[in-house]
Subunit: 203 residues, 2 copies
């Protein structure tokens, strides 16, 4: 199938767009070792986001009984409706625990950081605004390609993404959606090398 | 310090109440091996929940760099503000990954289940309604005493809570809050024995 729509998300930026039920969103790590924070809201095909139905990490982790979502897993909304099905996954390691990096992320977690730093939260808010999404509507994102291990103590260890140049994940929309996505701004997530993310929409 | 306010949450029910900044909420597993799902919203002391500021699993896990929150950890809101500080924790194992059990939880995860089953989601909604909270506002709850292990594969393993009769957690409110809490309705979370939860408020 040919992709009619392609987007390039430049380093440390984001994008938002509509996705129709049945369309497939391919998230591509074009250069390797980059993370894309993805969030979605129901739209009912209205062209506006319905902020009352959002992609839910908790429902997804719960119903799939795993913190690592991969091929054939369904990503659920807070209302327990399927939002996406993962049709294909060339990497197999994505995070659904952590929120998009925010100005506070750099203050709290980045020693020696000073001044302004771009963030996924800001990039999601900036792009989702025109669909009616506010900052406080943004839930925990599906952090595609983000490589998070959990030690037996519960401590998180963030490693370089396992994705190599050209690796992708295919997400089929199970309802009409408004989707936001970023090329992650946080150096710890992508091995200190900020890169773009490419998206293709099929169907 | 003497507790002026005490609540008993009967098995498979919930409660909601206001908590003022500086007050300490003690969540007590009176009989042992029971789970309490706790959620909170900012209130600004208005007596109403501000649904735009809610307890965030993602921000908390992120900023504390662990999935297991215990003594001295701060529980953050979606706006990166401290909501609670854990002052004392007699158990040391609580879950912040899973959503409150819902009607769909029993359909999807409980083999052979049929018909109506009480759920924490329903009990939170029923009690938080009078503070202006809607079902779709409920985020991933802080599941006090819930014993979830993560296998290296990412799979979750839910065991009986480690809490013994009388064990408790003390949460200091860092802002004016509306709090919802349950005595969990899901048999897998509490070793198939549904029990009450006791709450005391200090200060």
């Amino acid at each position: 199938m040919e992709s009619k729509t392609r987007y390039r998300i430049k380093p440390q930026t984001g994008i938002a767009f509509e996705l129709k039920r049945g369309q497939i969103l391919r998230v591509i790590d074009s250069e390797g070792e980059q993370v894309s924070d993805v969030v979605a809201f129901g739209s009912g095909g209205s062209g506006r986001a319905d902020a009352s139905e959002w992609l839910s990490s908790g429902r997804t982790i719960d119903y799939n009984n795993t913190i690592y979502q991969t091929t054939s897993h369904i990503l659920y909304s807070n209302l327990s409706n399927p939002m996406f099905t993962i049709l294909e996954d060339r990497v197999g390691k994505h995070d659904f625990l952590l929120t998009p990096c925010s100005p506070e992320t750099f203050e709290i977690l980045y020693e020696g950081h000073e001044g302004y730093h771009p963030s996924c939260l800001e990039n999601l808010v900036k792009n989702l605004e025109r669909f009616g999404v506010k900052e406080d509507d943004i839930p925990t994102t599906f952090n595609v390609f983000m490589n998070v291990d959990i030690l037996p103590s519960g401590e998180l260890r963030i490693g370089p993404p396992l994705s190599k140049s050209g690796d992708f994940v295919d997400l089929r929309a199970e309802m009409d959606l408004v989707v936001g996505a970023t090329a992650c701004s946080a150096e710890k997530s992508n091995n200190h090398s900020l890169k773009p993310i490419d998206l293709k929409v099929y169907g």
